[in-house]
Symmetry: C2
Subunit: 251 residues, 2 copies
């Protein structure tokens, strides 16, 4: 196999996922869903897991009643109009603020992703005063799930907004087993010209495709089987997808 | 049908597409490929077509030998290090320059997309001194193809770079028949909370998914059937995906 285009790709939401709670063994939960769907791990299969499921299993809830906003959080809350306790949770895990304005707080997370509200989620956590933060180490979570499920690759996905364009798209925040980027620079085009600048964000596109079947609110559909991809095993994590801040004209 | 998640999605590159030339009837070319694959248009089928195929059929080649760079193009060529004639072709169709630096020229195209090199393509055009520019009216091209092919939706896709993250992802530059954005704001999450800010870039995610099977260099795989999406017919074009420049903190 060489990393390349799949001529045919199939995506299926694994059925019957329960609501995941802190301490649940997510590998067991997903393995059971695969068994229910009579999916045996096949050659090149990738499982895309919504980051919310990983965060819930890891118990990454923060009760806002316990949060004491710092002066910096209060400042940013005044600018954005957000709850200062919510902002405090965001800035705790932020390496830098990218943009702050009315209703908008975009940060560079300590994991390197530039993401609105630091990926801190107020929906689907079951209570108004709890928020859910990103998994501690999404690449490690992806690697553990990959080993447990016996699949070729695992992507931990989240839904990100982006500059210039409206709407969210799936993006990879954890990657195991597949190359995050597919580098086609050595290839030649139809006319034999070398392609100069063609690096595809493979793992992000897999996350975006999976989002079409997983949806956002439906945690019950937060694990998606992607069958038919072609790739060489890759050991890079999601950081391979990040443009260094000093090389980013939009940082 | 209500727009929502597909529980199962299938993507197939239509086989045997020839190299498309100026004046070719792209609808006929794709219809023939569907027939070869024994694909009859099904309920909810979407065809994703690489913008290069549309541009080639429309004869959107520019011979750089005929291009006389303006002073503005020469200025930007000095900044970026690009061929001044290539820059001239880019700025002719640009509404604004977003960023210019060594090796980088990002513009807002007259169609509204913020895109590196204005979407002007130097690869796969068959000769070193020709470039290929974006289709004249991608939404209209999508609508014509949709009518000809009898499918529910057509997306004209291109591969875009983006701030913060490396690698290109498929993006929709022309849309017919499906809602470009899927607005879930009226829905409720698993716990009955109303979702506040959940609008998915449906057409962009469809383009990203299709790119996994189409690849970038392989024009022979530039038409992809996406089967299994659920959506209400939509009549918005790709402009629905564009954040207004004055509401964009990264413009």
């Amino acid at each position: 196999v060489t990393t390349g285009c799949a001529p045919r790709l199939e995506l299926r939401a694994l059925p019957g996922l329960p609501v995941v709670s802190a301490g649940d063994d997510l590998g067991e939960v997903i393995a059971a869903a695969m068994a229910r769907a009579e999916v045996a791990a096949g050659d090149g299969d990738v499982i895309v897991v919504a980051s919310k499921l990983v965060s819930r299993a890891e118990g990454r809830f923060v009760d806002l009643a316990t949060v004491d906003p710092s002066p910096r959080a209060r400042e940013l809350a005044a600018v954005t109009g957000h709850d200062p306790r919510h902002v405090e949770v965001i800035v705790r895990d932020a390496a830098a603020v990218s943009r702050a304005a009315r209703g908008v707080l975009v940060v560079r997370h300590r994991l390197g992703f530039v993401v609105a509200n630091g990926g801190v989620d107020r929906s689907n956590v079951g209570a108004d005063d709890r928020v859910l933060v990103l998994p501690t180490d999404p690449d490690a979570s992806a690697a553990r799930l990959r080993a447990r499920l016996g699949v070729a690759g695992v992507v931990i996905s989240d839904s990100f907004g982006r500059p210039f364009r409206l709407g969210t798209v799936g993006a990879a925040i954890g990657v195991a087993g597949l190359p995050p980027l597919w580098d086609q620079r050595g290839r030649r085009d139809l006319f034999g010209r070398r392609l100069d600048a063609t690096v595809t964000a493979l793992a992000d596109q897999v996350a975006a495709a999976a989002d079409l079947v997983a949806g956002q609110a439906d945690e019950g559909r937060g694990a998606v089987l992607v069958r038919g991809l072609r790739f060489d095993p890759g050991d890079g994590g999601a950081a391979a997808l990040l443009r260094p801040a000093d090389a980013d004209l939009y940082a």
